[in-house]
């Protein structure tokens, strides 16, 4: 990091420290907007929500301190546990399936197929159209009588499809199917990861007589593990932030079968104005994500392979 200016013309010590101070002041001026934003919109709210989680608060009246009352109430609330189990079951299905599908697609495209850029474009397209419009499209696809999925199931495979969003057993699988539609976003990340693997590794393995499976298992996947780790952590955060689809397509129904964690938090805060309870939920959210991230990072020692140079 030592710059060349100081070495060419030795400055007097006082002048040098003056320059260093100027640079430090400039640094804090450049970073000032970020620091202000961090204090006002991130750190402040985190501390405030810790306090609010210990109070009863509906905005109209001042908060009343009730200790751990909100946490105790949540622990006894079957809907809170329901929201956790809904989120967990979605995560257990969607994260591994998404992982396998996106790596498989990336491996496929990495064969230098003809039309690579066309496939890449098509696969990535759903990722730019997230949000309410996509939720509406899939609500229509899952429509039990006239929806695309059940019509195709019946006409092509002669299977009478389930009621999807109206059936408490099928609503989570429906959201999982929907998530696979936009698997192209993470596929692109893995494709980049694949293209970063040095070809010498494959050449060396081939000379040693390694077959295609051995190369996949002993080179490709180990070299991809840092990217998998990164995606897994983002995936965990994403699952706990799952909101728009559940809000638009099912409102958490039927019978709370798609009552995702953030939907539960939203309803407590902005429909029932229970700001204290919602803050407690936010803190539990934060702690769960933190713990899962730490577990994932710790477990990384056993399954993630870092090449020396990666920072």
């Amino acid at each position: 990091m030592a710059t060349s200016t100081t070495s060419t013309t030795p400055l007097p010590a006082r002048r040098r420290s003056h320059l260093a101070r100027q640079e430090a002041i400039a640094f804090y001026l450049f970073v000032a907007p970020w620091i202000i934003g961090f204090l006002v919109f991130t750190a402040g709210p985190v501390v405030a929500s810790a306090y609010l989680s210990l109070t009863q608060y509906d905005i109209a009246n001042p908060p009343v301190f009730i200790g751990l009352g909100n946490y105790v109430a949540l622990a006894r609330d079957p809907l809170f546990w329901k929201s956790l189990s809904v989120t967990t079951s979605y995560a257990i299905l969607a994260l591994p399936l998404g992982l396998v599908a996106s790596i498989a697609l990336a491996l496929l495209l990495n064969l230098r197929l003809p039309g690579l850029s066309i496939w890449r474009t098509i696969y990535y397209l759903p990722s730019v159209t997230s949000g309410v419009a996509v939720a509406l499209l899939w609500q229509w696809i899952f429509q039990p009588t006239f929806g695309l999925l059940n019509v195709v199931l019946y006409q092509v495979f002669h299977v009478v499809g389930p009621q999807w969003l109206y059936d408490s057993n099928w609503v989570i699988p429906a959201f999982v199917i929907m998530s696979l539609w936009s698997v192209g976003g993470s596929m692109l990340i893995y494709l980049g990861g694949l293209q970063n693997i040095p070809t010498q590794l494959y050449e060396a393995a081939e000379i040693d007589g390694a077959g295609a499976w051995a190369r996949l298992w002993h080179i490709t996947l180990p070299m991809l593990t840092p990217v998998i780790l990164f995606n897994l952590i983002l995936g965990i955060i994403g699952v706990f932030s799952y909101f728009t689809n559940a809000y638009v397509m099912t409102q958490g129904g039927p019978n709370y079968a798609s009552y995702f964690y953030l939907l539960a938090l939203y309803q407590n805060a902005f429909e029932f104005l229970k700001m204290g309870v919602a803050s407690a939920q936010a803190w539990i959210f934060f702690v769960i994500v933190l713990v899962l991230t730490i577990i994932t990072l710790k477990s990384a020692n056993y399954w993630v392979y870092y090449e020396g140079k990666i920072e």
């Binding site: 400039a26 985190v46 098509i122 997230s130 419009a133 006409q155 980049g192 990217v227 955060i237 902005f270």
Partner: protein, 304 residues
């Protein structure tokens, strides 16, 4: 065409008896077959991705009766183009588009400026506490925005900012997202320092170096930040839902959700027409700036 030549000239490793291998076991034939199968799978998945989109477009041009027809009518004749007019005038979508554009552009400029300012500081200026602050920036990546939504709502309520665009624009001017700061810092570090030093000898201050050298040199990275922020802001639903309650400040996403509440379950043709129009800006941007998307995803995902 050259399969025989190749297999003679370059016997495949691992098979010492290359001559006795049947044609379908030969490396080049097998590779070509593998490629054909792989291309077929790739094409099938592409069809699976596009199928819903085609169906969406088709639905948007149908009469209500046609949407409920089995077997599916793929090409409605005559196409009901007026569905688009009906859908977009059923609610004040013109206003919603204008609102969304103001929020998106307003927060976009703030995001680019504040994240690039911070990134310049972290990439180029030495100061005590810099490393600590940078770790702080990275640690906010682990803090999902919904965690702080309740106190922010209370703050904006006290400031009387609810039902204005301010809660969706102002925070972007202060920070611009840890992801963007990180991405731009990594990019700035690749700009040769000699550029700065030459400018400093000419008497340029740090801000001039940032503004006249670093930003123009980093247009691809700034493009990536712009594009991802545009997509995020245009599609965002959670925060507008909380901060914008009156329908005169609604965004397109909120308008669409409100539209479903009114017409859901029946007017699928109108819903699909409105949804398609809502998606259009992002899809157009994607096709225009595809190269940046690919680069951006790879940079943030692989090197991040």
């Amino acid at each position: 065409m050259s399969s025989t030549v190749e297999s003679v000239a370059r016997p495949s490793p691992g098979t010492r008896t290359a001559r006795s291998v049947a044609w379908w076991q030969r490396r080049s034939t097998r590779q070509r077959a593998l490629k054909a199968v792989a291309t077929l799978i790739a094409a099938l998945f592409a069809v699976a991705v596009l199928f819903p989109v085609v169906w969406m477009i088709s639905t948007s041009l149908k009469t209500t009766d046609q949407t409920a027809a089995i077997p599916i009518i793929w090409v409605p004749i005559p196409p009901q183009w007026h569905n688009y007019i009906d859908a977009l005038t059923a609610e004040d979508f013109g206003l919603f588009f204008r609102n969304t554009a103001i929020i998106t552009v307003g927060s976009l400029i703030g995001t680019v400026l504040s994240s690039s300012l911070a990134a310049f500081g972290f990439a180029r200026l030495r100061a005590p506490g810099r490393n600590f602050l940078f770790i702080l920036v990275l640690s906010t990546l682990m803090l999902p925005a919904p965690v702080t939504i309740v106190p922010r709502f209370i703050l904006f309520t006290k400031l009387h900012w609810i039902n204005t665009f301010l809660p969706l624009i102002v925070p972007a001017w202060f920070g611009g997202g840890a992801f963007n700061v990180f991405l731009l810092r990594q990019f700035f570090m690749t700009v040769p320092r000699e550029m700065d030093e030459a400018a400093r000898i000419d008497g340029a201050g740090f801000f001039q170096i940032y503004w006249r050298i670093m930003l123009p040199m980093s247009l691809p990275a700034l493009g990536i930040v712009c594009i991802f922020h545009f997509i995020y802001a245009w599609n965002d639903f959670f925060e507008p839902l909380i901060f914008l309650n009156n329908n005169n400040v609604w965004t397109v996403a909120i308008g669409l959700a409100g539209f479903t509440a009114a017409y859901g379950g029946t007017a699928w043709n109108l819903l699909m027409a409105a949804s398609l129009v809502a998606m259009l800006p992002c899809v157009l941007l994607f096709f225009v700036a595809q190269r940046y998307f690919v680069q951006g995803v790879v940079i943030t995902g692989v090197k991040g």
